[in-house]
Symmetry: C2
Subunit: 506 residues, 2 copies
């Protein structure tokens, strides 16, 4: 590389505006009013929950704006104006999760303040891997791990935990740890030398990320042995015991039993105490995917759903679900603190400073897949420190109670069929008007999926669909605190209206 | 679950303030001035780059603030005040990457506006997995993939790409794809049935995340065959050919060759055209970790460093390094578009809507480890659309040229020794005062590490250390556009001052 190719001072002058504090102040103030006005319009339903557009059109628009970037002579005023245009476009083209008609995914309308706290971490880039890169980020993460771990029922110092980027990565991390504990040579030697096929005993309704983890970890999808569910879609413990016994007889090493609190399809909570007893009897690692339901630990009325969670060896708990922070903030917990060091049975000392061994416990890169890692605790720590723990109890209690409110409405209606008695805020159901009496399961199932798509593209309500026993169904997660009884009635009315139109159109 | 346990209206009233648009506006305006003032003080060096504190103390402070959260009777004014206290604490306790004395990790002081754009994505929670969850987030990601893929030199439609949460996860994703292509049964059947031990041929200076990926994927660390480097720490291609030949003779399947652009220790760029030719001759997947150096593609003067990158089968390129956006925004690219579908050889159709198969290409969860995924393109798309592509050329050109500026200073100084001629903005060197003449390698190496720690805890400059050939050394990444020649001189002076104090203290 030669010197003198460039004039550093000329470039620094050009770069000045991109790092200018007064631009940060002007655009930030503008952003605050844009977002406030936007939230106000969404919450009061002045706009729809979604403006459906084809992906190709959206990509084209995003590419166009990208291509128009950067007239080099833009002054502060022009930059603020362009910033406003870009933000308004993004707000308009996105989904409106704060709309009371959003009753869809297990993804909340976040507590808005969490995004302001996240912005502090982003603008100052408090990333981690090692303590010195993000000392306050590490401190917030550890403080949250400690607080939530105690909510599980564990004793300070005995357990450990970390935050990673999403439930899939969290499940992968915990199952990697379980693999390394069950097959101690697997990290160094790989699985090719392994004689017996390992097994992963998985609640049959578990999230696809668990089977995906088996594929990633070299166990193979074939390692997954589904454990059937009972009539309420909770793990059948006698079936689990039978499978554990069979693995023992066949000499198959069991990596882990994976239970759910709750499982995705209908939000069913597995009977954890009985499952934990089975695991203890067979000396097998118990992993609980409590991504959605872990937050019941903070509730005033629903803690019983996760009774026994403290018996798990590893737990996944997503704060970006029922703790209402923006994605992603997924916790992994280990009952035994030392297990966190087994995830990567790796000598990584060169990352870390041999002159400061006392920092090792705070160098999170030793325990997380990420090296450079976002300060993912910022939003949760900030909101908790601002509003207090009671906020989370309220959010869980309100949303879980609304599941039952909706279920009762479905029961009362002649033309709707609830498919289960909800344990939380997830409810699965079908629209079954008279005209479809006698229709085949396939016709009835496909009707639900087409009805859902029609409703969503129409923009007033946003719900999702699922497939139960091979048959399509409608599914809601009542996760917006602004969604009231009136909106649930409105949803049923909208489904009737769109459904009847579909039927009349043939 | 019983109804009637709670009064929904009472809870909604309590929750009102947490979702109140006027609180968002007041705190946002406050945040804008706090951050602007903070940046101004940092950039003008009114405070230090870091206030060193022990991790235990920091965790205690974070836990205290958490415990004080949420007097239930807080009004708007009190909430804004408490918000301000929390933000100020975070700004004070964190690191100051925008300080010109920050010359440390391969982590930039981000373009501040990127954080405002990220805040839009966070507050409205435009997460992905499937298109309909974050249509605009998908559009921005695809627009960026298209733009950067064309910068690599690829043709629209022929390649594909995605964003994931960090370089380690990006390397893992690409190597998982390579594993599934090389060992087609490995996804379904796992590796336990595999007869021959697979091999991963890895530049010996490659990031620890590559060996970690081998451990995660069930290949085992033993699968990693290091390929030696030449005197400039670039991959030795004749050694690569020898190892490829040996694997063929032994019947060992080669998962991939992993090259670096550039490697972490001294920022050396591998000779990609020759490596690609070797891979082609042996029909082996070429993966290039261009996390740091990929951005040279946008430079006016350094594009030649990554010549041949277009021949790779997969590439990792971190926007949160030399494109100056906050962590995390890591791109994975595949030369052949279809390879992105091999990462998870998984039937995941139940995630997706059979009534809308045309959306499949936009359902990113089919190709990323994350299910719920942050709108990670927001910051990059926003900054690019605001300032234009020239901004990135300037950032790369300025920082890379400063590497040479620093190198020349080290050469001129009697008491400093540069350990390589830099190819980019990473420079490794040692302080070698007269008093250490004749010291053993071990004494000299340990002196560098202790000198670095002393400097960092003192708070005026932040640099890092590394170990080359088993011997400690000082290392800088000149990544702050505000770092000028004056600061580089000041750094050498500070090292001399602290070093001499250490020597005088014995």
């Amino acid at each position: 590389m030669k010197r003198g190719l460039i004039d550093a001072e000329v470039i620094r002058d050009r770069l000045q505006s991109a790092f200018d504090p007064s631009l940060v102040e002007s655009t930030g103030a503008r952003l605050a009013s844009l977002l406030a006005r936007h939230l106000d319009r969404i919450q009061s339903e002045q706009v729809g929950v979604m403006r459906w557009q084809s992906p190709a059109e959206q990509v084209e628009r995003a590419a166009e704006l990208l291509g128009e970037g950067g007239a080099p002579d833009l002054d502060l005023t022009a930059l603020v104006e362009r910033f406003e245009t870009l933000v308004e476009k993004a707000l308009k083209q996105g989904n409106q999760l704060h709309h009371p008609g959003y009753i869809g995914h297990q993804v909340p309308p976040p507590i808005p303040m969490a995004a302001w706290f996240d912005a502090v971490g982003a603008m100052t880039n408090q990333v981690m891997a090692i303590y010195e890169m993000g000392p306050w980020a590490v401190a917030m993460e550890q403080a949250m791990v400690e607080r939530l771990g105690r909510a599980i029922g564990w004793r300070s110092g005995a357990f450990s935990g970390l935050i990673t980027h999403g439930g899939n990565l969290a499940n992968l991390t915990a199952l990697l740890t379980a693999r390394n504990v069950a097959l101690p040579d697997s990290w160094a030697q790989g699985l090719t030398g392994q004689d017996e096929s390992p097994a992963l005993l998985v609640q049959s309704d578990a999230h696809y990320g668990v089977t995906r983890a088996a594929g990633i970890l070299g166990l193979g999808e074939a390692a997954v042995i589904p454990v059937p569910v009972d009539s309420r879609r909770r793990m059948d413990v006698s079936a689990l015991l039978e499978r554990l016994g069979r693995c023992r007889r066949e000499g198959r090493p069991v990596i882990a039993v994976v239970a759910c609190a709750c499982a995705t399809p209908v939000g069913a909570f597995d009977p954890l105490p009985a499952i934990a007893e089975a695991c203890r009897a067979f000396d097998v690692w118990l992993h609980v995917d409590a991504a959605h339901g872990g937050s019941a630990l903070l509730s005033r009325h629903h803690r019983h759903l996760v009774s026994g969670l403290e018996l798990a060896d590893s737990i996944v708990w997503d704060a970006h679900k029922m703790l209402y922070v923006p994605g992603l903030c997924a916790f992994v917990f280990y009952r035994h603190a030392g297990h966190a060091k087994r995830t990567f049975d790796q000598e990584a000392s060169y990352l870390f400073d041999p002159t400061a061994p006392e920092l090792e416990d705070y160098n999170v890169g030793l325990r997380t897949i990420e090296c450079t890692k976002r300060a993912a605790a910022f939003g949760l720590w900030g909101v908790w420190s601002l509003f207090g723990e009671g906020l989370f109890a309220d959010l869980v209690d309100l949303s879980f109670s609304m599941g039952m409110v909706f279920f009762e409405r479905l029961e009362r209606a002649d033309d709707f069929e609830p498919l289960h008695r909800p344990q939380c805020n997830i409810v699965v159901f079908r629209y079954r008007p008279r005209q479809l009496n006698g229709a085949s399961d396939q016709v009835l199932g496909e009707f639900q999926l087409r009805l859902r798509r029609r409703l969503v593209e129409q923009g007033e309500y946003y719900i999702v669909s699922t497939t139960l026993e091979g048959m399509g169904a409608l599914r809601v997660t009542i996760i917006n605190p602004l969604t009231t009884d009136r909106h649930l009635d409105g949803l049923l009315e909208a489904l009737r209206r769109e459904g009847q139109t579909m039927l009349s159109e043939g």
